[in-house]
């Protein structure tokens, strides 16, 4: 599959279609592209289009959604070559003329038609130590975290991720290097590295290092460009590169230049 195409100038999504305008939708299915035609409607989203096709034209069309308001992260797919939430994308903003091309999310195995298997995405989330680590003995007291401390700000910048996989689909390094943990998992790890209550720092820094880890990111910024939550995994990954480098140098120094106590 092709890399995401350059950003098309966004069109005004409030411009309503002319009466009687029809939409031509090419959908990649298990046996190649299939074309559907349906009426354009005011304020129509991509998810509305797929749902209308499934209800009115072909009940075998498979796709996934749940909340339809940008909360659950389950509806993402490639829309005209770019990964997007279909529930929050207006047809008027992205259609090329009256044409749409819909494909399953890039970089993930297809289950059927437009539904992908998110398992590799979540496996990597776990591999990057994406779960809070309370430690053997939990902290004795509440951690007092100042809202404007640098750590808290770093967490705030990345905490709103809803695991939609859009960034993962946008990242070329994931397609070149299937082991690469990817922007979402690394972004998550960075929020936990900055969580002062977390006890799993050293192990997490190891988990996000190496050929599958943060050092493989080329700072292409595709993830940051496409994240519908306007998060910036690229900067989180840059933070991980700094922190892992600092820790590696410290360990190297301790091993070679300091006498062990």
């Amino acid at each position: 599959m092709n890399a995401p195409v350059p950003n098309a100038a966004p069109r005004d999504p409030t411009v309503e279609p002319a009466a009687g305008a029809m939409l031509t939708v090419r959908i990649r299915r298990d046996d190649g592209f299939q074309t559907f035609t349906l009426a354009r409607r005011p304020a129509q989203t991509i998810l509305d289009v797929v749902t209308a096709i499934q209800r009115e034209q072909d009940p075998t069309l498979a796709y996934r959604f749940a909340c339809r308001v940008g909360m659950c992260g389950s509806c993402a797919m490639m829309v005209n070559g770019r990964p997007r939430w279909t529930c929050r994308t207006r047809v008027a903003a992205v259609a090329e003329g009256d044409a749409l091309t819909l494909e399953p999310l890039r970089n993930l195995p297809v289950v059927k038609d437009l539904a992908v298997d998110m398992e590799p995405f979540f496996t990597k989330w776990t591999a990057a130590h994406g779960a809070f680590e309370p430690g053997e003995t939990p902290l004795g007291d509440f951690a007092v975290v100042a809202p404007d401390s640098p750590e808290r700000r770093a967490v705030d910048a990345g905490i709103e991720c809803i695991n939609c996989g859009v960034c993962y689909a946008a990242c070329d390094v994931v397609s070149w290097n299937p082991d690469y943990l990817g922007p979402a998992a690394l972004n998550r790890a960075w929020t936990l590295i900055n969580d002062v209550r977390d006890q799993g720092r050293e192990a997490r820094l190891d988990a996000v290092s190496g050929d599958a880890g943060c050092q493989s990111c080329h700072t292409h910024m595709s993830c940051t460009e496409h994240c519908p939550k306007a998060l910036a995994p690229t900067f989180a990954i840059a933070g991980l590169k700094r922190e892992t480098a600092r820790t590696a140098l410290r360990r190297f120094g301790a091993r070679h230049f300091r006498r062990s106590a």
Binding site: V173, W176, N177, S209, G210, D211, Q215, S216, K241, T244, A245, T247, A248, L249, F252
Partner: protein, 109 residues
């Protein structure tokens, strides 16, 4: 790549950025009035500062380039593992040998 290779690649990139600028600047400055090969060799011969500068440049490039080449090969070919790492050490050695040989040749010429 490991965090230490990362540090090595970014650290040598800083050296290279300075070295490339000095290298180009010197070329532009030196040939401004037109110089023969003989005149250039006359200035580099026995010049220890020249040798140290290009020695550092060569070693930095020999560390920097194979680390980057390794990333590219891992992304664009199925080559992985010890044979790849060994080959990259070979590239590093080749760059050191060829580069230092060239710098030394100009130094002693």
């Amino acid at each position: 790549m490991s965090p230490l290779l990362y540090v090595a690649q970014r650290g040598t990139a800083v050296i290279l950025a300075v070295a490339v600028a000095v290298h180009l600047g010197t070329i532009l400055y030196a040939v401004r009035g037109g110089l023969t090969a003989g005149e250039i060799l006359g200035r580099t011969q026995g010049n220890l500062a020249f040798l140290l500068f290009y020695g550092t440049f060569v070693v930095a490039a020999a560390i920097h380039a194979p680390i980057g080449l390794r990333s590219i090969l891992r992304e664009w070919t199925p080559w992985r593992g010890r044979s790849l790492d060994g080959a990259m050490l070979g590239v590093a050695a080749l760059l050191v040998v060829l580069g230092l040989r060239a710098a030394l040749a100009v130094y002693v010429a």
